[in-house]
């Protein structure tokens, strides 16, 4: 339908253009000739009749097209041009410029344009030029506002920042990256402006203000209105033409919007669910398992494609048991949670499966079960089984208070309960979870991430269900908060004897909390086993690969295995094993025949032809920069531990690559009329030292200031205070050509691979751009260099990737391109801001290994920013831990992790879910959440939450205590903490 409308409207507009251009040449009557008799009805000689002056209506109609189109095109062209220029300037440069310009836009938008046009035309005359200018003058703020909003949002896109970081000028950035990406809504709005212009001009003419001499449809209606009864054709046909032309413009705009805005197309079609099935009444089987799932299949429709997200899942959950479902993106686990409780979006539907919940059947053969006309699941929903969603993304209704949402949920299933009973129950469940009762009247956005998640848990436990499904409950939460929530969930489970299903991508979290683990891949469960067995003796190659790709905090240091290829998406016919394409031990049989479900042992099954084969523990080499391998780091040839330590203490080498002292960045939050100005102390006086060839990991949670530090080092932001020296020279104050030259030596890799590259540029263009900006080589050399770089990041053959667009590549591939772009200038220092955190586990290890290999080859240093201690441990030789803007501990990686000297570091280490089960892990409780930055701290920043805080901690800023020559910590009790390690 959308396509038909688009084609039809384009056709009408094309017809109008042709008519307007051809009018002088068509065999028509003269539109101003008053030859014929007036008020003749439509007939043979005058197809549409004549008007009050005896002029041929049809001829006037055709000629009127010229005026309509002229007005439309000229007005909207002027308005759009003005709007694009002023809107871009306002959005891009911000500050004063924006303050003044956007005020102007807003004021003009409030002025009703038709009246201004009326006034102008009444005063200056009704020539068509005045009309067009008047219309343009009153509509340009629309385009300006749209452009401004676009530019504001695009300014912060990663690929724009990347271009600036590579040294592009403002003009280049605006012209090549910002404006082209922001034009789409302007084009759409331009078509709407055209329709508006036509209607405005017609309205003016209808009121008698139009150009007397021009042939205008509006004027024709004006002349016809007095003789409405006598000669209705005078008014009818011009109006109809107006309707058709304006509707065509509007529909065109609509169609353009849909075409240029792919997200709109994803508002997918609904799948009609299968009819419910009526079963005879029967007593529920209370002795059976809590949840029994057989061959569950779910598919969803996205545009034209149908994707089989869940493709035959079977498992059983005993009463009081706990099952963890693990998988990466695309495995189908995200659809599984909602599917189990049949709460899918309308574009998803269950196509097969038998599910029995709490002894009652709720799904048979993919159809909902009804008993006595009532859907069984409807009865059990929330009262026997509930679900906890990932609350970071709006899982709670933002316009209703928590209390209201709980109350409604309670009333829905217990309509007979009185208000007092409901209130009592709500209070009870809040106490159970540990949320203070005052928070009941808060709205979801007023709560922190952890609190919101707890509110979600409270909601799910409202009716004391027997089964709770936790769907990624801790993703997007900080490590410490994650740990707490998982612990609380576990405690609740034991206390209330709940059955728990935990769906997550985090193997460690699942391993710690669940007795059984199911590994999902491509919509199927490829391995199911008790937790201890999965880690001790995995039988499916995917499970083995996944485990081998996990970096560990305390285990022996081994090189991480990388999984080649991309995750499988099940949409078409499947032949053979779905994992075969990526499996290291795949054989011909695997590609031809789907693997059977092999029962390895009691409670342990795997979907593999060779499940009974035990894999020998693959001897994995030690990673490239282990302590033993000195040549990796020190430029000096000394190879003993002493020399190594000394070199590290002095920053690794005679020439310090990077040295920052008291580096500070404050942001002044805009003082509104009603708010006092506040200061955000993002980075508060840190010292950093990085030697040539070193990898320093900067570890911290969100809000610690680590990303800001990265931006300061790459000079994307200017420090508010402090010094920054690079290879001995002061760089903090650089500008112009010197700054651009400096940018060749320091580059950045960003966190989000999907936004790192300009979506409109091909891969080759993106990689070549830094060379272009710095004028290196000619086109041929640049291309050669870029292709070489692409091969070095393992995108082979380069020819296959150079002409692709970012949308065609996967996350892992995109990040490799981003690395290629950063390294093409052969910088000395690369700042990597969480480069793998948005990638799947199996893809991460590949990228990390690549980064290590490239470091060796190009002899660079890395400042590796991350929140993940395990990753930090894998990648770095030194770790600096940040908290609320300050570095609170720094030391050699292994030493720091083995024996931390700061309570916060100790907490971070303890919060990493350990992959080894049975290893009793001490979980340290932590109160509160990080306090917002505001006034300068009086004592230790961590004191309010520190479990070992004393009086002195709150009153005196702790000095840096060195517990060994190269390991220090900013804590009054550093030595004690370190000793008890």
């Amino acid at each position: 339908m959308g396509r038909i409308a688009l084609r039809l409207s384009a056709g009408i507009i094309a017809l109008a253009i042709v008519t307007a251009l051809a009018a002088p040449f068509l065999p028509l009557a003269d539109p101003s000739a008053m030859d014929a008799a007036p008020y003749l009805p439509p007939g043979a000689e005058h197809v549409l009749g004549t008007d009050n002056f005896g002029r041929d209506v049809f001829a006037r109609l055709i000629w009127g097209t010229q005026l309509a189109l002229l007005v439309a095109v000229v007005s909207s062209a002027i308005a759009s041009l003005l709007g694009i220029v002023l809107g871009s300037l306002s959005g891009y440069f911000g500050g004063r410029v924006d303050a003044v310009l956007s005020r102007i836009f807003d004021v003009f938008l409030l002025i009703p344009s038709f009246f201004l046009v009326l006034l102008i035309v009444a005063l200056f005359g009704s020539g068509i030029e005045y009309t067009m200018i008047a219309i343009a003058l009153t509509t340009w703020p629309r385009s300006a506002r749209i452009m401004r909003a676009q530019v504001l949002s695009l300014k912060s896109r990663i690929y724009v920042q990347a271009a600036r970081a590579a040294g592009a000028s403002h003009l280049r950035t605006l012209a090549r990256h910002v404006i082209p990406n922001g034009l789409a809504p302007i084009i759409t709005d331009a078509t709407i402006l055209m329709g508006l212009a036509i209607l405005t001009e017609a309205g003016l003419s209808f009121l008698g203000l139009g150009d007397q001499n021009a042939v205008s449809w509006g004027r024709m209606i004006f002349e016809g209105q007095r003789q409405l009864r006598l000669a209705p054709w005078m008014s009818f046909f011009p109006g109809l033409s107006l309707l058709l032309l304006v509707a065509a413009f509007n529909l065109l705009g609509d169609g353009l919007n849909r075409a240029l805005n792919p997200q709109l197309r994803r508002l997918a079609a609904r799948i009609k669910p299968a009819a419910a099935i009526e079963l005879p009444q029967a007593a529920p089987d209370c002795a059976g398992p809590m949840l029994d799932v057989r061959d569950l299949r779910l598919e969803y429709r996205l545009g034209r494609e149908t994707i089989r997200a869940v493709d035959g899942i079977s498992f059983t959950l005993a009463r009081g048991g706990s099952l963890g479902i693990v998988g990466e993106s695309g495995c189908g686990k995200s659809s599984l949670g909602a599917a189990l409780l049949q709460a899918m979006a309308p574009n998803a539907a269950l196509t097969s499966g038998d599910v029995t919940l709490d002894g009652e059947p709720i799904l048979r053969d993919g159809r909902r079960v009804m008993r006595g006309g009532v859907e069984t699941l409807q009865r059990l929903r929330w009262t026997r089984a509930s679900i906890i969603f990932q609350s970071a993304m709006n899982a709670l209704n933002p316009v209703m208070t928590i209390e209201r949402q709980l109350r409604d949920a309670h009333r829905l299933h217990r309509p007979e309960a009185s208000a007092a009973v409901t209130a009592a129950r709500i209070g009870e469940v809040f106490d159970l979870i540990g949320i203070p009762r005052e928070r009941l009247n808060a709205y979801p956005h007023e709560l922190s991430g952890g609190m919101r998640q707890r509110a979600m848990i409270a909601l799910s436990l409202l009716h004391e269900p027997a089964l709770v499904i936790a769907d990624e409950p801790t993703t997007a939460l900080d490590v410490l908060v994650q740990d707490q929530i998982l612990g609380e969930l576990d405690a609740l489970r034991r206390r209330m004897n709940l059955s728990l299903i935990l769906i997550s991508h985090d193997m460690g979290a699942v391993a710690e909390t669940c007795a059984q683990v199911a590994v999902m891949y491509a919509g199927e469960i490829v391995e199911l086993a008790p937790t201890a067995r999965i880690f001790a003796d995995p039988r499916h190659p995917y499970t083995r690969a996944l485990l081998a790709a996990l970096p560990s905090v305390t285990g022996a240091r081994r090189m991480l295995a990388a999984l080649p290829g991309e995750p499988f998406v099940s949409s078409g016919e499947v032949v053979g094993c779905r994992f075969a394409a990526r499996c290291a031990s795949a054989e011909a049989l695997c590609r031809q025949q789907a693997p059977p479900r092999v029962r390895v042992e009691d409670g342990h099954e795997a979907l593999c032809h060779f499940a009974t084969r035990t894999a020998p523990a693959a001897a994995r080499p030690v990673p490239p920069h282990s302590r033993r391998d000195d040549n990796e780091f020190a430029r000096r040839p000394s190879s003993d531990e002493e020399g190594q330590r000394g070199a590290a203490a002095r920053g690794g080498g005679s020439q310090r690559l990077l040295e920052a002292q008291s580096l500070t960045k404050f942001y002044d939050l805009r003082a509104g009329w009603l708010r006092a100005p506040q200061q955000l102390r993002a980075v508060d006086g840190i010292d950093l030292r990085l030697g040539a060839g070193e990898v320093l990991a900067l570890v911290g949670e969100s809000g610690s200031g680590k990303t800001t530090t990265g931006k300061l080092i790459t000079l994307q932001e200017r420090p508010s205070a402090g010094t920054l020296r690079f290879e001995g020279a002061d760089v903090a104050g650089l500008s112009g050509a010197a700054l651009k030259a400096h940018r060749r030596r320091v580059q950045m890799i960003f966190q989000n691979p999907y936004e790192s590259l300009d979506p409109r540029h091909r891969i080759l263009e993106s990689v070549v751009e830094p060379l272009l900006i710095h004028g290196i080589g000619d086109a041929h050399e640049r291309r050669a260099r870029a292709e070489r770089m692409l091969e070095q990041v393992e995108l082979k053959p380069a020819a296959r990737f150079v002409d692709r667009f970012p949308a065609d590549l996967s996350g892992g591939q995109l990040q490799r391109v981003a690395i290629a772009r950063a390294l093409v200038l052969e910088p000395k220092l690369v700042v990597a801001d969480e480069p793998v955190s948005m990638l799947d586990v199996s893809v991460r290890s590949g990228v990390m290994n690549l980064m290590l290999a490239l470091r060796r080859e190009f002899d660079m240093s890395y400042l590796y920013i991350t929140h993940d201690l395990a990753v930090a441990r894998y990648m770095s030789t030194r770790i600096a831990v940040m908290y609320l803007g300050a570095i609170i501990e720094e030391g050699p990686t292994d030493a720091l992790i083995a024996a931390p000297a700061h309570p916060y570091t100790r907490l971070l280490i303890s919060a990493v879910p350990e992959h080894r089960i049975g290893a009793a892990r001490e979980r340290i409780r932590l109160a509160g959440e990080p306090s917002a930055l505001g006034a300068a701290p009086v004592g230790c920043r961590f004191a309010p939450r520190c479990p070992s805080a004393q009086v002195i901690c709150a009153t005196t800023l702790p000095p840096k205590h060195a517990v060994t020559p190269d390991h220090w910590s900013a804590c009054h009790f550093a030595v004690e903490i370190w000793a008890t390690g």
Binding site: M1, L251, P346
Partner: protein
């Protein structure tokens, strides 16, 4: 307390708009070709009246004095004198406001309610045939020239089939007060409201449709389904409350368009409102009335934007007061 400060703060923002409008008015008058006195007094004015006008507006004074004088005049409610009726413009405008308010208010209410309801209803199945057809129909509706629609309605229901009156607000010889009058006015209201409403209902249908469709894809709707609320409750209670926010935002901005439509509609139906006043003023080249109407309309739109902001802040708890 904070609410009062917020209202005050937002009300203060009306001042720059008003100032710009007044200054703009003034500038346009001065930039226009012709003798300003004649523009303000009319072509057929006698010399005595011309002198009165010159004195009133201080047309012999230097530029900035004239501007200041004009500003003071407008601020005190003096919008000039209509040279046709020799009445103050302000009085003329105020006397016509009730009729326009009735027309615009009714149309706005009906188009918002109907449009939102239809939009929410088709949003249940985005991408379906019904959705496409209704959306396309909505687009066609707001492409209709409102004056032409008015004329066609008159032709159909007043001329061809003499069902409803096509002129004026009340019958000439009808009842003056009481229920009879109300019914009479209501009968006259039908066609104008139908015309005005039709061209704006399409906007709300599309707006509500996209807002509701987007909201239905949010996580909290999945949560609501999991909890077990019936689909109807989810749409009307959970989704609509969030989807209304963008609708409210647009409402205030659309008032300007509706007033435009009102001018044209009143002209067609001879509805004795502000729009008709402007039309007569245009025909007679009564510039003071056109200027005064411009100021009045601008202030009205600005006020509407303020009210919309307040309503939005009341509905959305995420807005910081």
């Amino acid at each position: 307390m904070r609410l009062r400060r917020y209202i005050l703060f937002r009300a203060l923002q009306l001042i720059p708009v008003t100032l710009v409008v007044i200054v703009l008015n003034f500038l346009l008058i001065h930039l226009a070709p012709g003798d300003i006195a004649i523009i303000l007094a009319g072509d057929s004015a006698d010399p005595a009246y011309l002198a009165v006008i010159r004195a009133r507006y201080g047309l012999d004074l230097p530029f900035h004095d004239q501007l200041w004088r004009y500003l003071v005049q407008v601020a005190s409610g003096d919008l000039g004198i209509s040279f046709r009726s020799r009445e103050p413009v302000f009085t003329e405008i105020m006397s016509r406001v009730p009729a326009t308010l009735l027309l615009v208010g009714t149309s706005l209410l009906l188009s918002v309610v109907l449009g939102t309801w239809i939009g929410a209803w088709i949003a249940r199945r985005p991408g379906s045939a019904l959705d496409s057809w209704v959306s396309a129909g909505a687009v066609a509706l707001f492409s209709v020239p409102v004056f032409w629609l008015g004329l066609m309605l008159v032709l159909l229901f007043s001329v061809r089939i003499p069902l409803l009156p096509g002129m004026g607000m009340a019958s000439v010889d009808g009842p003056r007060e009481g229920l009879g009058r109300v019914l009479d006015v209501a009968q006259h209201l039908v066609l104008p409201v139908l015309a005005l409403m039709t061209v704006s209902v399409g906007q709300y249908v599309r707006l509500a449709r996209s807002a509701v469709a987007e909201v239905m894809g949010e996580s909290y709707i999945t949560t609501a389904r999991a909890i077990g609320y019936p689909e109807r409750t989810i749409l009307m209670h959970h989704a609509l409350r969030n989807a209304l926010l963008p609708v409210v935002t647009v409402l205030g901005l659309q008032l300007g368009l509706m007033l435009t439509g009102a001018v044209l509609t009143e002209t067609v139906f001879s509805w004795p409102g502000l729009g008709r006043l402007i039309y007569d003023a245009i025909l007679a080249r009564d510039t003071p009335v056109i200027m005064g109407a411009f100021i009045a309309m601008s202030i009205t739109v600005a006020l509407a934007a303020l009210v919309t902001d307040l309503v939005y802040a009341a509905l959305d708890p995420r807005v910081k007061l």
